[in-house]
Amino acid sequence: MRSILRVGAMATVAATALLTAGCSSPAADEPAAEGPVELSFWAWAPNIEKVVELWNEENPDIKVTVSKQDGGDPAITKLLTAINAGSGAPDLIQAEYQKIPTLVASDALADISADAGDLEEKFPEGVWDSVTLGGDALYAVPQDSGPMMFYYREDILKELGLEVPTTWEEYADVARAVHASDPKRYLGTFSANDAGWFAGMAQQAGTSWWSIDGDSWGVDIDSEATEKVASFWGGLVEEGAIDNKPMYTPEWNAGLNDGSQVGWLSAVWAPGVLSGNAADTAGLWKAAPMPQWEGEDATGNWGGSSTAVTSQSEHAAAATEFATWMNTDPEAVQALVTESGIYPAASDEAEASLSTAPEFFSNQPDFYDVAADVAQTVSPFTYGPNVNVAFSAYNDEFAKAADAKTESAFVDALQAMQEITVTDLEDNGFNVK
């Protein structure tokens, strides 16, 4: 649900921000000769049918028909039902990264590595890992990504004489100073509702919650790196420097709008959400790279999706060709940006197609330059076959911790999450390392 809202909001922004659509000449490559092929495509990105139209005009041999879906979750539920039933699945489906292992575990996706050719260097390493699950197979072509960035109210930090934090230590200091200036103000909130957000921050800290080791899954949710992230936030919540209320509530929206939420650790799609939820603050926000732990600059991913070929498709090669075209062809990527408002996963194409900053960030003309640099630093991260279980465990356990407001409760919550996730895998018969 939420991701639909985000995508929808982004569409509005991108549509207004990107005044010119690049108009390169149509690619001359002819599709592999398989005769006229009909492909069905389940997707929910806004206006994606307009992008598909471009393909259909240039490729009379492979006709793609879009069937609009309600969003990421319903589409996947429908697909899994069709897979279980043995028929009724489309050739192509838009799938969020964290859903891929679940789909692969249900044998819903085709391995397209043979047909896709060499795509690896077109995408940041972190994104690529999500569609290969760290192995040799390729289960989808990355479409869009959500590299995380730090958003802050430039005016308020300036007024308080505070520098933009570049490390987490500085972030904590700024958070304390912001809260000290006014007990109603916070630099951010720890949201127990957004498992994807926390996963993105664990990703930034250099860990991966799942891994594949030969014939077994590894689950490493309570790794040292994630524990560092959990106790950092637990500490800030315990001392009261950071809010403990969930994001995406009417209260949080009001806080963004009235200046009591001074910052937001979010992703590249944030301008859409901010312009929708905090319209009064246009031109007051700025984006910066995430505060860093020691070591190389890194960030995590929050959101994003890919185009996958289903295991029921009888035209896997043609479907792969379309998926590759849509996400790597400059004209197609430009259309995705203009029509659907996504942030493309393909690095070079993203840079070429995003030039003008979103209107909400008209005060920061280099918005997409910052985003492009950040997108290059996404750390690798592997999702497992029971992301749903881990994420709902996050909701419950971290809600308890955020309510308890102690650092130790945050660390306990992480351990509980690990335990629930491992137990679920073992109970279902997966090999767990």
């Binding site: 539920t77 899994l80 292992p101 679940t102 692969v104 575990a105 249900s106 044998d107 699950l133 127990a192 509702n193 594949i212 014939d215 077994s216 899954w217 403990n244 209320k245 969930p246 995406y248 509530t249 009417p250 209260e251 009001a254 806080g255 009591s260 295991s311 076959p385 029971n386 749903n388 279980v389 994420f391 709902s392 909701n395 419950d396 809600a399 308890k400 955020a402 309510d403 679920d424 279902n428 018969g429 997966f430 090999n431």
Partner: protein, 289 residues
């Protein structure tokens, strides 16, 4: 003649129940990494799902919460419904039609909508109540905190449910012939005495019925806490038994253990209703015979 009824019952009641029963004895078994074809198959699970459901501390905790919730809600609900019905029925009441509609109206608001509405009122920074009390210098407790959330949810159900129960009781009051009251008045009974000695005993059967409805609704509470959950840290995804069923089936993708929990909940609801009726009916009607 009975054929349509039997067919409808078989297709829409019996078949789903039997299918749920079947599912509750199954489970999925994955081999190895669980990736690729044939890695996942449905196997017979015996009573494993039932053992897991009954042995799960989360399930026990959710049952405990629902019982506490019912202990708060049901007396308030029936007490208020009875009080309103008696007030509307008393001879001195004015504007009874308006009051009746006003009290009944919240019942017409879907639970999801009323929960959203109350959710806004419970959030201090967007709530007019908190705004006013802050201006007046009164410090209001946080209703969405772990101590008060139970009352917050009971309040939503109360707001939505009192009107319906009041109408049921009020209707049975209206069916009482006026002669009885006249006779009582001739004997010198006051309005209060009439209410306590005549009206309440007469409407006892409808009180029992509304109590039964309320018990069943309590055991099935789902919409209110589910709608409020994103607003607060104090509600878990397994806060009530039905929320746990929903989470297991649709979030955790484990329809088998959800089926087992559903069967347990249905059986418990049936048992509680039955016991309640047996106990209460004996006491209520036993004396009249």
């Amino acid at each position: 003649m009975l054929a349509p009824g039997i067919v409808l019952f078989a297709v829409f009641m019996a078949a789903p129940i039997l299918y749920t029963l079947y599912l509750s004895f199954q489970r999925v078994e994955v081999s190895g990494l669980g990736l690729g074809s044939g890695a996942r198959k449905q196997v017979f699970a015996g009573l494993d799902n039932y053992a897991a459901a009954l042995g799960d501390p989360e399930f026990g905790a959710s049952v405990g919460r629902v019982l506490t919730y019912g202990a708060i809600l049901i007396p308030c609900m029936l007490g208020l419904a009875l009080l309103f019905a008696l007030l509307l029925d008393s001879r001195r009441s004015r504007a009874t039609t308006f009051s009746r509609v006003a009290i009944f109206l919240p019942y017409a608001v879907p639970a999801v909508i009323s929960s959203l509405l109350w959710g806004f009122l419970y959030l201090p920074s967007v709530s007019p109540f908190y705004y006013l009390t802050e201006r007046l210098g009164i410090e209001m407790p946080q209703i969405l905190s772990s101590q008060l959330i139970m009352f917050g949810i009971a309040n939503i159900a109360l707001w939505g449910g009192v009107g319906f129960n009041m109408i049921v009781i009020y209707t049975s009051l209206k069916a009482v012939p006026n002669d009885i009251y006249e006779a009582a008045r001739l004997d010198g009974a006051s309005e209060t005495q009439i209410a306590l000695r005549i009206k309440i005993p007469i409407v006892t059967p409808s009180l029992i019925m509304t109590a039964l409805f309320s018990i069943v609704a309590t055991l099935q509470v789902f919409a209110e806490p589910t709608t409020l959950r994103p607003l607060t840290n104090t509600l878990s995804t397994s806060w009530t038994p039905l929320m746990k069923v929903y989470r297991d089936a649709f979030t955790r993708d484990d329809i088998y253990s959800a089926a087992a929990s559903s069967i347990v909940i249905a059986a418990a609801t049936l048992l509680i209703s039955f016991v309640f009726l047996r106990v209460v009916q004996k006491r209520a009607f036993g004396q009249e015979d």
